[in-house]
Amino acid sequence: MATIPIHYGLLLAALLFVVGLVGVLVRRNILFILMSIEIMLNAAGLAFVVGGARWGRADGQVMVIIILTVAAAEVAVGLALVLRFHGWFKSLDADRASEMRG
């Protein structure tokens, strides 16, 4: 069976990663920033799947599961923090959080 060359898969993952990265940089809403981070993590997951497919082994997919769980945990804590943040700043604008500087 013919397969997609690995570099294509990695390229796709890299593109996804950059999409997420750009999202972190340009979005001001914290929720969107968190989503963008999820995209970056999932891009890594995709790269692992590609690698796993290349070597024909399952450990790449195991890594994906681990990444997914970790991302969920991160998001759970993240959402709690976002709620607290909203309580303090009455906004979800990440740029408002600049009490400390210098």
Binding site: L21, L25, I33, A94, S98, R101, G102
Partner: protein
């Protein structure tokens, strides 16, 4: 057997740690117990080890205790160890015994002071530093103790730091001794680079092997060490700090003068004697400095009003005797005088302290007088100390030690220096008895407010005992020829090159010396007790007045230093405030400040900007990694 020598310096150090950390929370009695007790235990240990040392006579008459290797990397492995030989045995014993008595004395003397625990903490550190100094087997550790002693003297002289004058005196002591310390540090660097080691015995062995007698390197190294010794021991030309060091509490003065600080220089020279032997010009310089100092300081002592300043100048003068002895290779004589001096000088200081607190902290002798009746105990002990200082014949320890020095100076063929020392004898007895007569005889001028208690008098009695009998360890030939002390010390130090002179000569010279001493006593009796008007008339005349002022100010050294060094330096510092070098330093400062400000701007507090930072870093890093 000899083991665990480290406890001797460690005990006062532990006392210091405890007092410094929790001293404020402890009761006064506990503070006193820890402060004096730790030194007392160290004294017991020192006596025990000394006894062992003499009883078992370890091979080579020395005992080394290697404690640990500090760190062992890349060929640099300084060993930390202790070294015990007869020289350090004597030093250790004197430091702990006298130190302990001074601590006991301080329990009552300092009782009213707020900073009770601070005082004992510093004192313990002082004793500990001095013990480290005398027991070190490595010049690095010796230097550690050396600096520790300097630091403690600074802290204790400025103990009552609320008064600006005291703080100034402390700074003066620190800065002046620092001049010597710097020279000494350079000397240590020189020794290390030339000989490749700082282990004292190894340094001496290699120095003798590598350098011929009188070689320039040896002279330079010995000269630099001498500069360090001169600074610590308050000899010419760095003696100016000691009279001002009276700003500290009296027990501190006793400790500095008798047991710890000023004798460090004597110890250093004695310890490094092989190096000095191969540098004859430096050796001669030691003797000349000693002789000059003893005369100059003695003259200044004759003119002081303040009882503690008299004692301070007398210390400078007496240490001058020790230097003189060192300079003529009479090592054991110097050490002998160090020991007796420690006893009678601490006795005198503590006696003076007892007088001072009895007189409402009055230190001017002309406002005292007639205290013989009011403070009999203090008087008799003080008198014993004074006799010993003036070396009255036969019953005082000073007689034996100073007699040995004078005889050694003559017998090694230095008649001029001997003359100076003899003159010094006369001056010593004049100012000593001037002090005794002004303070204890004559009409009472002040009121005695408080009498010293038993804890103050106890150490005085013990020291008076020592001041009397300590001379018996070495009795000259005409009186029985008993050489216990010299025999002990000569296991570590070479025998002085004395000419074999007949006993009759020695008798003559003993008599000469005693004559000058007794003449001095008589002189003082006449001038300061019977015919006060003579002195007054003499100082009223312009020439006499000028001389008096000149001596009173310590031969104008302070004035010379101020005009020749301090003022031009200050002027130069002012003048060069805006010179090119200054701009360099300011520029460095400004660059760093500017970088700080620019970099601080990157800390915007904006989380997205921080993410940009990561991304820029990542891009640069990946670019570097991929394209390099």
């Amino acid at each position: 057997m000899l083991m665990e020598l480290w406890v001797v310096p460690a005990l006062p150090l532990a006392g210091f740690c405890v007092l410094a950390l929790v001293g404020k929370r402890l009761s006064r009695w506990l503070v006193a117990g820890i402060g004096a007790g730790s030194v007392g235990l160290a004294m017991v240990g020192a006596i025990y080890f000394s006894h062992d040392f003499m009883a078992f006579e370890p091979t080579g008459h020395l005992y080394r205790e290697s404690l640990w290797t500090w760190l062992n990397v890349g060929g640099f492995s300084p060993d930390i160890g202790l070294y015990l030989d007869p020289l350090s045995v004597v030093m250790m014993l004197v430091v702990t015994i006298v130190g302990f008595l001074i601590h006991v004395y301080s329990i009552q003397y300092m009782a009213g002071d707020e900073a009770y625990s601070r005082f004992f903490a510093y004192m313990n550190l002082f004793v500990s530093s001095m013990l480290i100094l005398v027991l070190a087997d490595d010049l690095l550790i010796l230097y550690l103790g050396w600096e520790g002693v300097g630091l403690c003297s600074y802290l204790l002289i400025g103990f009552w730091y609320q008064s600006a004058a005291n703080a100034r005196a402390a700074i003066k002591a620190f800065v002046v001794t620092r001049v010597g310390d710097t020279a000494m540090a350079i000397g240590l660097f020189l020794l290390f680079t030339q000989l490749g080691t700082l282990d004292i015995q190894e340094v001496l062995v290699r120095a003798v092997r590598q350098w011929p007698v009188g070689s320039a390197t040896a002279i330079a190294a010995a000269g630099l060490l001498l500069a360090g010794a001169v600074g610590k021991s308050a000899q010419l030309p760095l003696q100016v700090w000691l009279p001002d060091a009276m700003a500290g509490p009296t027990p501190v003065s006793a400790l500095i003068h008798a047991a710890t600080m000023v004798t460090a220089g004597v110890y250093l020279i004695a310890r490094m004697h092989d190096l000095f032997i191969i540098a004859p010009p430096v050796q001669t310089a030691v003797a000349v400095i000693g002789a000059a100092t003893l005369v100059l300081a003695g003259c200044s002592a004759m003119t002081q009003f303040d009882i503690k300043r008299v004692l301070a100048y007398s210390t400078i003068s007496q240490v001058g005797y020790m230097f003189l002895a060192l300079g003529v290779h009479a090592w054991s004589a110097a050490l002998f005088h160090f020991m007796t001096h420690a006893f009678f000088k601490s006795l005198l200081f503590m006696g003076a302290g007892a007088v001072i607190i009895s007189m409402h902290h009055e230190q001017n002798m002309f406002k005292m007088g007639g205290l013989r009746k009011q403070l009999p105990f203090t008087f008799w002990t003080f008198l014993i100390g004074a006799c010993s200082l003036a070396s009255l014949p036969l019953v005082t320890s000073g007689f034996y030690s100073k007699g040995l020095i004078l005889w050694s100076v003559w017998a090694t063929g230095h008649p001029v220096l001997w003359g100076a020392a003899l003159l010094g004898e006369f001056i010593t007895s004049v100012y000593t008895f001037r002090m005794v007569f002004l303070t204890f005889f004559g009409e009472p001028k002040g009121e005695v407010s408080a009498r010293p208690g038993p804890i103050i008098l106890g150490p005085l009695v013990i020291l008076a005992f020592f001041s009397t009998v300590a001379g018996c360890v070495h009795i000259p030939r005409p009186l029985g020829h008993f050489r216990l002390f010299a025999r002990l010390v000569e296991q570590a130090l070479p025998v002085p090159p004395m000419q074999p002179l007949p006993i009759a000569t020695e008798v003559v010279f003993q008599l000469l010396m005693q004559g000058s001493v007794l003449l001095g006593v008589a002189f003082a009796y006449v001038l300061f007790l019977r015919r006060n008007d003579l002195v007054a008339a003499w100082t009223a005349r312009p020439a006499g007045n000028a001389l008096h002022r000149f001596w009173f100010s310590g031969w104008g050294f302070d004035w010379v230093y101020t005009t020749l060094l301090a003022k031009p330096y200050v002027w130069f510092a002012h003048a060069s405030r805006d010179d090119a070098f200054e701009w360099i330093y300011r520029g460095i400062g400004a660059i760093n400040r500017g970088l700080h400000e620019q970099l601080s701007r990157t800390q915007t507090g904006l989380v997205r900007w921080y993410a940009v930072g990561i991304v820029i870093g990542a891009v640069l890093l990946l670019g570097l990694v991929v394209f390099l």
